[in-house]
Amino acid sequence: MNPFKKWPISPEQASEWSIRHDALFWTISALTVVFTILVGVLILGFAIRYRRGSTADRRGAFDHHNGLEALWSIIPLILAIGIFVWSTLLFIEARKMPKDAMEVFVVGKQWMWHLQHMNGIRENNELHVPVNTPIKLTMISQDVIHAMYLPDFRAQFHVVPGRYTELHFTPIKTGRFKMLCAMHCGTSHSEMVGFVYVLSKRDFASWLDNGGNRYKPKPITLAERGKQVWESKGCGGCHGAKDTVRGPSLVGIYNSQRAMADGTTVKADADYLRWSIVQPYRLITKGYEPTMPVYQGQMSEEDVLGLIEYIKGSSNQSTPGVKAPVAPTVRVPADWPPSAPRNATQTANEELSSGATQAQQVPTKE
């Protein structure tokens, strides 16, 4: 339980650099407090001790003291130079782009962030990245100046029209972190807000597998869906590659002529297949007992459609089956196992001009 939930005093430290930033921040803050107290105590002390009417000894007052002047010039100067050196070294590190970083392109426009991964996955106001991986943002604005601000990573840089700017950060914890615009950019400046989702490497891989789509399951073909139903319902137990006593094989059945138990012949079209699934006893194939369960109300029409497609597909193959989907890939560091070569390259402009594919997630009032 975080006692500061209601009164937070520090943003999350979501990158290693943010921890070192905070060390500097709190050092300067401590100096601020020390000097404020020092001056405050001196002011109040002198003001009270030497208030008009007090009996304090006022003899020997002096109004020049070069030693004191030197003291309070040199001590602040030394402290200031110390802070300057510390801070500058840290800043140089923040501005030096790592060579092995995962690259993401950012376009700022009034009033949203477009983000484009190297493999073509596009996001709006959201950025999914793997944990413990250096991320480098290459940024440009389409209109006015924006500022990409990631407070939990202590990372910020302006996004300027007409030139590329860069920003890098290395997330060290998974979670959802704010992604803000920190440069006034017009009417809806305060809604140019999104989130960085830092995923574990495994979650990130599956996110990539799903084409970068977190909200819907991976789109699958009807035949794939049919295969899933086929397997989950155990259709293959009776309808195998060869006819068995329990049921006929369905390989190549689509559009073939079938002899029925009542002596008629029917064409095994989609309509026949559907009836044979939902109401198998309507037409029994010659030579078989009516033992198949009734699936009326047990399967959605989509499932039935899928099954039919799956059975159709089996017509050209020895056994029902579909091709394996092609996984998208992304350029990631060496320790990151890429599964297959990049399948498509589209330029950022094409991608971005084609518009958003995902609904923008707007946090709702709680």
Binding site: L24, F46, R52, D57, S87, V144, Y149, R163, S190
Partner: protein
């Protein structure tokens, strides 16, 4: 010379009834006046009016922010509100407040001069200010401006559909008003000092205004031309700042901050001059390290011109530029530290009188220390990455501008009020207002440091994605209510003092300086009845004598200063 002799000394023996206020009562005599004192009063009325307008905008902004979803405005209107607050407060209140009111009134008197060097130009500067203010208010009335007071391009030049051109013309005129004031101050300080008034006998108030005037003359033309370029790009599509027209958006920031960073010192340096006078007078001590305080003003003015890039660490300027600007920024902190320590030491072995102006001055010192030290967070490169563009920076510059410059302005106004209007205000209400403002100010702006460090960007209307920030905004808005009450109090009791306040003597504080010792309250139109000659060092106070005198009168009768209190 001791304070006792001050009491015995009756400055001008024959005191004529005529002074600059009652010399002529016609409206014409006010609006065509070339008397620096009357122009100062005109400025006082104008900047107070603008201050209240800017405060209303601030109140609306603070009210909106009490909820993460806003309270009543659209984002468009909210943006216009904070822009109005910034433009009015920066260009029409805080820049002219101390120089054009207190500086205008006091600089010639402190120098023993009859008027500023160019009285008509002084009047022209007020008219330019009024014209500029009228244009800016017209731009607000015609729909407002939404680009923020910094007017960053290309938002201000190509993308904003609001009344920016009109507002920029207004600010341009106000800039010339500022330049003319600066010219006047420099010429007057060089050429019109009374016999015997050498540079190192000048009050530190004059030194501070001299340094301010240098900045006004060197910096303001740059921002004026920059704003003209923005107008050209807006109106005629000149490609200067917009990349789509072939310009460079970051160039604007360089030109803008080349003025607007030194402008920060235009705001604070005159305040420092005021504080030197107040601390010295109410401690009954010569300002400690006079030369250091004087030269630190000049050092701030000079170094202040080469630190503008610290506003642009993340703007895409090179890392090397960032490092140099950061180093120079740290250096400019030193003269400010020197001032603070010297003021503190001025009270050592003094005879400290907790009058209204002194309470304002002590409040200034506390708040300015915090404002100045938090500048280290922002001047240091690494921490600036996280803090720039957030409420931390808003809190920082309000500590310097409000906690510093406005506290100094109010302290100075209370100090010289008897001199300006010949009336005493209620000391009770005065002290109370100083304390209420100090309390309300901290209450308002300290939470903003917190919410800024948590990552809340400035100029955000909504923050529904981070409801944990709300507690700090509620605290800040509650504090702003107290602060608002604190600012309203002087408006009432100072106005009341004009009507029924007791008559002020020529030197109600027992202060040193030509304006107190050599002329009446209020001064005559020609400032002095005789040409003053300066013999003494400035701040020739005697704390021991003052304290003994006070103790001798303790419980019997209030200590009175001057001839006819």
């Amino acid at each position: 010379m001791s304070a006792t002799t001050v009491i015995e000394q009756s400055p001008p023996t024959e005191r004529p009834e005529k002074n600059y206020l009652n010399a002529d009562h016609t409206l014409r005599s006010w609006i065509w006046t070339v008397d620096h004192k009357r122009i100062a009063v005109l400025y006082l009325i104008s900047v107070t009016f603008m201050f209240f307008l800017g405060s209303i905008a601030a109140a609306v902004v603070r009210f909106e922010l009490t909820s993460p979803w806003g309270q009543m405005l659209t984002s468009e209107t909210y943006n216009k509100m904070f822009t109005a607050h910034g433009v009015i407060m920066v260009f029409f209140f805080i820049i002219p407040a101390i120089p054009a009111v207190l500086g205008n009134f006091l600089l010639p008197i402190m120098l023993g001069a009859r008027d500023l060097a160019f009285p008509r130009i002084n009047l022209l500067s007020w008219y330019l200010y009024v014209a500029g203010a009228a244009l800016v208010l017209a731009s607000l009335a015609l729909g407002g401006i939404d680009a923020g007071w910094t007017f960053y391009t290309p938002l201000s030049s190509l993308y904003s559909n609001t009344q920016i051109t009109l507002a920029l013309v207004g600010i341009f005129l106000a800039g010339f008003s500022s330049i003319l004031t600066g010219v006047n101050f420099i010429a007057t300080t060089h050429k019109m000092r009374a016999p015997g008034l050498t540079w190192f006998k000048m009050p530190l108030f004059v030194w501070a205004h001299y340094a301010t005037a240098i900045i006004m003359i060197l910096g303001t033309p740059v921002v004026a031309m920059t704003l003209v370029l923005v107008i050209f790009e807006r109106a005629f599509k000149f490609g200067i700042f917009s990349p789509e027209l072939g310009g460079d958006p970051v160039l604007f920031q360089h030109l803008f901050w080349f003025y607007s960073h030194p402008a920060v010192y235009i705001m604070i340096l005159p305040g420092m001059g005021v504080i030197s006078e107040l601390i010295s007078c109410f401690s009954r001590r010569r300002v400690f390290g006079y030369e250091f305080v004087a030269f630190s003003s000049i050092a701030i003015a000079v170094i202040g011109f080469v630190v503008w890039g610290h506003h642009m660490f993340l703007s895409s300027q090179s890392v090397l530029q960032g490092i140099l600007f950061s180093l120079l920024t740290f250096l400019v902190a030193i003269p400010s530290a020197i001032k603070i320590f010297n003021w503190t030491m001025t009270m050592y072995k003094g005879s400290v009188w907790f009058s209204t102006p002194m309470i304002y001055a002590l409040g200034f010192m506390g708040l300015f220390v915090i404002g100045g030290l938090t500048g280290l967070h922002l001047g240091s490169l690494a921490t600036d990455v996280h803090l720039t563009g957030t409420y931390f920076i808003v809190a920082h510059f309000h500590f310097v501008m409000v906690g510093g410059a406005i506290m100094a302005f109010l302290g100075g106004l209370h100090f010289w009020w008897p001199k300006m209007f010949g009336k005493m205000y209620s000391e009770f209400w005065g002290r109370l207002s100083a304390m209420v403002i100090f309390l309300g100010f901290n209450f308002t702006f300290f939470p903003q440091f917190m919410v800024g460090y948590l990552g809340m960007p400035r100029r955000y209307h909504f923050y529904y994605f981070a409801p944990e920030w709300q507690i700090y905004h509620i605290l800040s808005s509650a504090g702003a209510t107290i602060l608002g009450i604190g600012f309203l109090m002087p408006a009432f009791y100072l106005t009341a003092s004009l009507i029924k306040g007791p008559k002020a003597s020529s030197n109600p504080w027992g202060a040193k300086g030509l304006e107190w010792e050599q002329t009446t309250s209020p001064p005559p139109t020609e400032n002095f009845h005789h040409k003053p000659i300066v013999m003494d060092d400035p701040y020739d106070y005697d704390a021991i004598a003052d304290n003994d005198d006070f103790r001798a009168h303790w419980g019997k009768e209030p200590v009175k200063y001057g001839g006819d209190n």
